[in-house]
Subunit: 504 residues, 2 copies
Amino acid sequence: MTAADAYAELVRRSREVSTLNSCAAVLGWDQQTYMPPNGAGLRGDQMALLAGLTHAKATDPKVGELLAAVEGTDVVADAESVEAANVRELRRGYDRSAKLPPRLVEELARVTTQAQQAWQQAKKASDYPAFRPWLEKVVKLKCEEADAVGYKAHRYDALLDEYEPGATAAEITTLFAGLTAELAPLIRKIADSPTKPDRGPLEREYPLDRQKLFAESAAAAIGFDFAAGRLDTTSHPFCTGIGPGDCRITTRYNPRFFSEAFFGTLHETGHALYEQNLLREHFGTPAGWACSLGIHESQSRLWENQVGRGRPFWDHFFPRLKQTFPVAIDGVTPDAFYSAVNDVRPSLIRVEADEATYNLHVALRFEMELGLLSGDLSVADLPGAWNERTQSLLGLTPPDDARGCLQDIHWSFGGLGYFPTYTLGNLYAAQFMAAARDQLPGLDDDFRRGEFGRLRGWLTENVHRHGQRYRPGELCRRATGTPLSAEPFVRYLTEKFAPLYGVC
Amino acid sequence: MTAADAYAELVRRSREVSTLNSCAAVLGWDQQTYMPPNGAGLRGDQMALLAGLTHAKATDPKVGELLAAVEGTDVVADAESVEAANVRELRRGYDRSAKLPPRLVEELARVTTQAQQAWQQAKKASDYPAFRPWLEKVVKLKCEEADAVGYKAHRYDALLDEYEPGATAAEITTLFAGLTAELAPLIRKIADSPTKPDRGPLEREYPLDRQKLFAESAAAAIGFDFAAGRLDTTSHPFCTGIGPGDCRITTRYNPRFFSEAFFGTLHETGHALYEQNLLREHFGTPAGWACSLGIHESQSRLWENQVGRGRPFWDHFFPRLKQTFPVAIDGVTPDAFYSAVNDVRPSLIRVEADEATYNLHVALRFEMELGLLSGDLSVADLPGAWNERTQSLLGLTPPDDARGCLQDIHWSFGGLGYFPTYTLGNLYAAQFMAAARDQLPGLDDDFRRGEFGRLRGWLTENVHRHGQRYRPGELCRRATGTPLSAEPFVRYLTEKFAPLYGVC
């Protein structure tokens, strides 16, 4: 077999695994949207079976042989080629998968499917004890996973690496400490400012059917392709890129709070634009996969916040908002509305947090995860630790666990190590946006006219189309000219909020 | 390996194939309900991959070895045991699959996928010549399939056996001839009767949201478990039993025709009650699978017609109907409504036919299929033969092929041998219902009170819970005391329609 043949066979196998994964993605979407509750048991078995089949194919020693037959040959001689990137990332995935015992993979699939169901019930009833045994199982299994994968400094690194290739707990600790130090004074100044936006206009009656139409129109305006996707309702919003021509997003509607569905939809649309603009011809190979969760999150944050909470965006959308919700927006000025959607104040729910305090929520979860994985924090002690740290970081105490440590779905699906990518996303988003503004003068004028094509084109060109051709840090350097730094994000927040709150 | 071990391994493998099939069932449901249009290409790849995996597992020679290791041992010594039934039916399925050359399986999959596409276009344009070459290919491949599977008397038997194990063309011919001879005079008398129900009340405005609520309330009343299923909207109604705790039905709403969604929902609910009451512990083995398509259809027909078009049912539901649709039902008496839903008159479209004439449509298709498979009827001559026989059976001539031999999807997906199960379903339904009435006095009083639990319990006890433990004929004999006969059905129709139409 020539190296070229081996490469072709690697690609064929990778596509097959991806197609199998895309079946699981449909089942996962269905589980969150339309599956009847009693279907959960079977769904666990289905997911476990697919995960087992996928794992068997992904860890087939033949893949190792094929990789070895391609590595170091002419096929991958150009380190910047698609072929080289594919082989590099397939090697990374193969090595990781091969270290996981099939029993652990299937057990994780089964347990997390049931744990998600248990979490939903427990959250509804604010009943942490009902979720606790499931979380204990998940943490135990994730520790086993990390130990099987291996790590140098901290068990956390082994889990983080799955979401953000190459990142480490030590780096994140440093980055978050610096960011928190920069943000704290800004948040304090804003809290002390006599200027307080009136959130009242956002908390009026927003009829659900109109919210849906308005959210869909905004998603379409920034570029979501509804022939290749859909928008549904779930208790926890998400985006799932099933494959070419099929990317689905969800949101949740609150009849008395405009922001929840609207900014949630912009957020998921940002993710979806990434998925919809990956190169179809690379489907099923790393060159057709998103770079990392941090980069993925940068796309959602960029559209939700950098664009969607900006003044130019609302110069275009405010008149449409007023037309759609004449009662709620009656007597509200564009300035008042712009202030309302940029209200900064500490709150309990991460997904409802403003741009500045959001990162404190992430820092909190990162700390809890470090504790759970190192064994310094027991699952039993989690609610207490959570509430205490919420008080010290945000000055608030959750009145119940539904608004505390039960609020997020992540741990129920085994997503320990996932949260830091949210803050990485904020940082990447600010850095990408600053670079796009530099390279595309007059971007705000586009937005004021409801045109988002130039920005979307820049993102597709500099981020989306590369897939995993470059690692996150390298992608950032190529797109923006500098390595990732918190500076553009802090500058963006300061420049935005200083005039809004009369602080400096 | 002991025989018991071999049996356990057979069950494990059967469950695995079933779980894989249940994944495909979710994807199939999604394809008809919520999949975005551009997802069709990927969906084809996903389905092909799952089908390939399933086929490989089902035809693994190891299954043949395991079967041989169990057959004739103590494990299956009791011919009436679950074990014996499982081994008998797994053998039947394995032999059938193993006899089909992979080339034929693949070609059938490819040709029927394209033939369905061609049929859709041809039906829309009423263009039989456009469909003819596809039907020729399908008939040729189905003949090859039948010849590969083998048969004693008629090639038709090999295809029929897939849907109705053990049934033969000879039996069906006799049964249908007797039935047609009995029905013809009744239908003629009804046609000649001066009493003509007014269908007008069914063709008023029925708001879609209220139709949905009303259909759901009826489905729930007869026993559909919404915690273990759902009702959605599709252009072709269906029921898919994904597995334990997850059975989904669909219907289609016509804003100006009450019967379409309502009786369609009762019909699919009948199928769903069967699926929902199969024994969970036998999931993935023949003992947990429905007995045959004929028995399955008996459950849908029983609830749709025997119960749902009966006077006691409407004694309960009519006041609720009037409350839900005060405008449409304004001035309509219960008698007039009962007559309207029991309008018998020859028509061209099978799926819109009444209880009596429906079976003539099936007899016609059975005759055509016999001719096509034996070679006595060429695909070229089909439209002529169809129209001629429609005239002699129903007294009508289709004005075009869209309302003639192009009306049904079945042949395009290769479903030759499928149609007879519809009439078998009607016959089984009448025979089951007569037996249930004998054994459960006062059943109509139950229905008048909106109570359907005793009937459902009888069906679960006598039909559902047995799965494939008995073949259809034996199941019928055990449940009703006699072999299948057309007599209960003819008696039911006569007793129902004689007073309605003043005939005897």
